[in-house]
C-alpha cells in the first residue's frame, strides 16, 4: 500500500500523477470495504467516489493526512457507509425483503445467497464500530491480523478479541429463529 509522505506531499500540491497513483492503489480496496457493508453495486460505486471526493476536499482544506493514508481512507469509508445507512434509515425506502424480491430473477441458490448476504450486512450494522471495522478489513480485504491492527491502531490481541466476539454476535443473529 502506498503510504509514503512524498506521495501525500505531491497530492497536497494536486500533482496529477500522485493523485492518480493514490486512486489506482486504493480504489479496489475501498470498493471491497464498502461492498462488504453495502450490497447494491451502484450504491457502492457512489460511496467510493464519495470517499475520494472527501479526500480531495481534505487536501484543499489541508486536513488530509501527511502519512498513513490507508487508515485515513478506510476511516472515511466507514463514515461514508454509516452516513449512508443513517440516511437510508431516515428516508422512506423500500423494505428490505421487498428489495430482495425486486432482484432480477436468478438461479435460486444465487438469490438465496444474495438474501443471506443482505441479512449478514444488516447484522453487521448492529455490531459495534470497532467490530465492524475489524470484520470489514479482515474479511472484506482478507488482511492478516497484524495488518488490521496496524490500520486500526490497535494491538493484535485487541483485534483478535474483536474478531471473535464479532463473529459470535453475528452467528447468534444469523441463527434461524433469532431476529435482529
Amino acid at each position: 500500500m502506498l503510504d509514503d509522505a512524498e506521495l501525500l506531499r505531491r497530492a497536497y500540491a494536486f500533482d496529477t500523477d500522485a493523485l492518480a497513483a493514490i486512486h489506482d492503489a486504493y480504489y479496489q480496496p475501498l470498493y471491497r470495504y464498502i461492498s462488504f457493508r453495502v450490497g447494491d453495486r451502484h450504491t457502492c460505486e457512489d460511496l467510493v467516489s464519495e470517499v475520494f471526493t472527501r479526500f480531495l476536499n481534505a487536501l484543499r482544506q489541508r486536513k488530509a493526512p501527511h502519512s498513513s493514508l490507508r487508515g485515513w481512507l478506510f476511516g472515511v469509508a466507514a463514515n461514508v457507509v454509516s452516513d449512508h445507512f443513517r440516511q437510508s434509515y431516515r428516508s422512506p425506502h423500500v423494505p428490505l425483503n421487498e428489495q430482495i424480491i425486486s432482484y432480477t430473477p436468478q438461479p435460486s441458490d444465487l438469490a438465496e445467497q444474495a438474501a443471506m448476504n443482505e441479512e449478514l450486512r444488516r447484522a453487521i450494522n448492529n455490531l459495534t464500530y470497532d467490530q465492524q471495522q475489524v470484520l470489514a478489513l479482515r474479511f472484506g480485504q482478507n488482511l492478516p491480523i497484524q495488518e488490521v491492527a496496524r490500520i486500526l491502531g490497535k494491538t493484535e490481541g485487541a483485534i483478535k478479541q474483536l474478531q471473535a466476539r464479532a463473529i459470535a454476535a453475528l452467528a447468534r443473529q444469523m441463527t434461524p429463529g433469532m431476529v435482529e
Binding site: L19, Y31, F36, F52, N117, L120, I145, I167
Partner: protein, 395 residues
C-alpha cells in the same frame, strides 16, 4: 461470552479459512469444539464472500472524475505565475523600446544622438545579410541622403559617403548630386574620372552648402583593380588619421588643414585625430613606408562588408626623433563601442570590436627613413632600406 480458549481456536480456524482450508478440514482438527465452532465458522466463511470486486468501468469512471475534480482544485502557483507575467511584460517592454529606438533612429542624421544606433542597426542588417548587394547599395544611398539632409539643414558634421563622380571643376566636384568642394588640402587617392566611384570624407559646411572634402578615394576607375597601389598619392599628403567617432558625431578634432603634413619635409608628422564615422568601405591606401604589417594589420571591419580596399592611412613618421604618432589608423569599428548598446534585447550589440584590432601604431610602423618620400612600395619592406632609387610618383 466465549471463553478464551475457544476464542483462540476460533481465530486459528479463521486463519485457516483465510488460507483456503475447507470447513470440514478445520472442524476435523477440533472435534471437541466442533459443535460450537460450526456456526461460527460458517458465518466467517460467509463473511469472506461478502465483499465484491469493482467493475473496470466503474474504476475508470471514478478515476477520471477524481482527476478532473483535482484539476479544478489545483491551485495556480500564484508566485510563479506573477513572476512569469512580470518577466514577460519586461521582455515585451524591452522589445518595444528597442524596436522603437531602432525605428526612431531611422531618420537620425550624423550628429544626432540616435545616429549611432542607426548605424548599429545597419551593421546588424549587414551581418545577417552578407553579400547582399541591394542592402549595401541601399545603405550607401542612405549615407548620401543623410549628407543632403545635413546640407539642407545647414548642419556641420563630419561625413563620409560614396557615390559616382559626375562633375569635375577646379574646385567643385559633384558626387552623386552632392556638391563636394576641393582645395589644396584635399587628399585625392586614385585617378578620378567622370563615372568613377569615389568615397568622400569631409565635412558639411553650411556656408557653402556643400561638403568640404578632406579625402577623396577613387574606388573604381575605368578598370576596377582591387588592391593595386598604383593609384598613388602624390607628394602632397594631407593626413587625417581617423579614429573611432564618438556617437554624437561631434568632431572634436576637425580635419583641418592644419593637420597637413608635407611628407617631403618628413618632420613633424601630425596626425590629426578626427573622429569620423566608420567608413563604408575599408580602403587600403598605399602606405608610404609602412611595414608589411600595415596592410595585413587591418582586418576586415565587419564580416559582412566586402572591403574594396583596406584603408591604411599612410603613416608618416619623420625621423626617429619624431614623436611617435598614431600613424596607422585603421578603419575604426563602428562608434558603438563608445555608445551604450541599445537596450533592446533584439538589437544585438554592434559587431564585436575585437575583430578589428587597430594595429598598434608604433610597432608596426617603422619610421620611414628620412628620405621617405612618396614611395611606391607595395611590397613589404621595412624602413631599413632607402628607396631613393624608387622614386616613381604618379599622380
Amino acid at each position: 461470552m466465549m471463553d478464551k480458549s475457544l476464542e483462540n481456536i476460533l481465530n486459528n480456524c479463521i486463519d485457516a479459512l483465510a488460507a483456503g482450508e475447507s470447513l470440514e478440514e478445520i472442524l476435523a482438527r477440533y472435534p471437541a469444539e466442533a459443535a460450537a465452532l460450526q456456526p461460527l465458522l460458517t458465518t466467517a466463511a460467509s463473511l469472506f464472500e461478502l465483499a465484491t470486486e469493482p467493475s473496470a468501468e466503474a474504476r475508470i469512471a471514478s478515476r477520471r472524475a477524481f482527476l478532473q475534480q483535482a484539476a479544478i482544485y489545483r491551485p495556480k502557483p500564484a508566485f510563479w505565475q506573477r513572476l512569469t507575467l512580470i518577466a514577460a511584460g519586461i521582455l515585451m517592454l524591452l522589445m518595444l523600446v528597442g524596436g522603437g529606438l531602432a525605428w526612431a533612429a531611422e531618420s537620425a542624421l550624423p550628429g544626432d544622438p540616435l545616429y549611432a544606433i542607426k548605424r548599429s542597426v545597419e551593421q546588424i542588417q549587414l551581418t545577417f545579410n552578407a553579400n547582399n548587394e541591394q542592402l549595401s547599395a541601399r545603405i550607401e544611398e542612405r549615407r548620401r541622403s543623410e549628407v543632403t539632409a545635413l546640407i539642407q539643414r545647414h548642419r556641420e558634421v563630419a561625413v563620409e559617403f560614396s557615390g559616382k563622380l559626375e562633375e569635375v571643376t577646379p574646385q567643385r566636384w559633384s558626387v552623386s548630386d552632392i556638391p563636394v568642394i576641393i582645395d589644396s588640402t584635399t587628399q585625392v587617392q586614385g585617378q578620378p574620372s567622370i563615372g568613377s566611384e569615389v568615397v568622400v570624407s569631409g565635412r558639411t559646411i553650411s556656408a557653402i552648402s556643400a561638403v568640404q572634402a578632406t579625402t577623396i578615394i577613387v574606388i573604381t576607375s575605368t578598370n576596377d583593380d582591387d588592391d593595386n597601389h598604383d593609384t598613388l598619392q602624390p607628394t602632397s599628403v594631407t593626413l587625417t588619421a581617423t579614429l573611432p567617432a564618438e556617437a554624437t558625431g561631434i568632431a572634436t578634432n576637425t580635419p583641418t588643414p592644419t593637420a597637413t603634413m608635407t611628407p617631403s619635409a618628413t618632420s613633424t608628422a601630425t596626425a590629426t585625430i578626427t573622429p569620423t564615422l566608420p567608413p563604408l568601405r575599408t580602403v587600403v591606401l598605399p602606405t608610404m613606408t609602412t611595414t608589411s604589417a600595415a596592410p595585413t594589420a587591418i582586418p576586415a571591419m565587419t564580416p559582412t562588408l566586402t572591403p574594396l580596399r583596406t584603408v591604411v592611412l599612410p603613416t608618416v613618421t619623420p625621423s626617429s626623433t619624431a614623436v611617435p604618432m598614431p600613424p596607422t589608423v585603421t578603419p575604426a569599428p563602428p562608434p558603438s563601442p563608445t555608445v551604450a548598446p541599445p537596450p533592446s534585447p533584439t538589437v544585438a550589440p554592434p559587431p564585436p570590436s575585437p575583430t578589428v584590432a587597430p594595429p598598434p601604431p608604433s610597432p608596426t610602423v617603422a619610421p620611414p627613413s628620412p628620405t621617405s618620400s612618396a614611395d611606391d612600395d607595395d611590397d613589404d619592406n621595412d624602413d631599413d632600406d632607402n628607396n631613393d632609387d624608387d622614386d616613381d610618383d604618379d599622380d
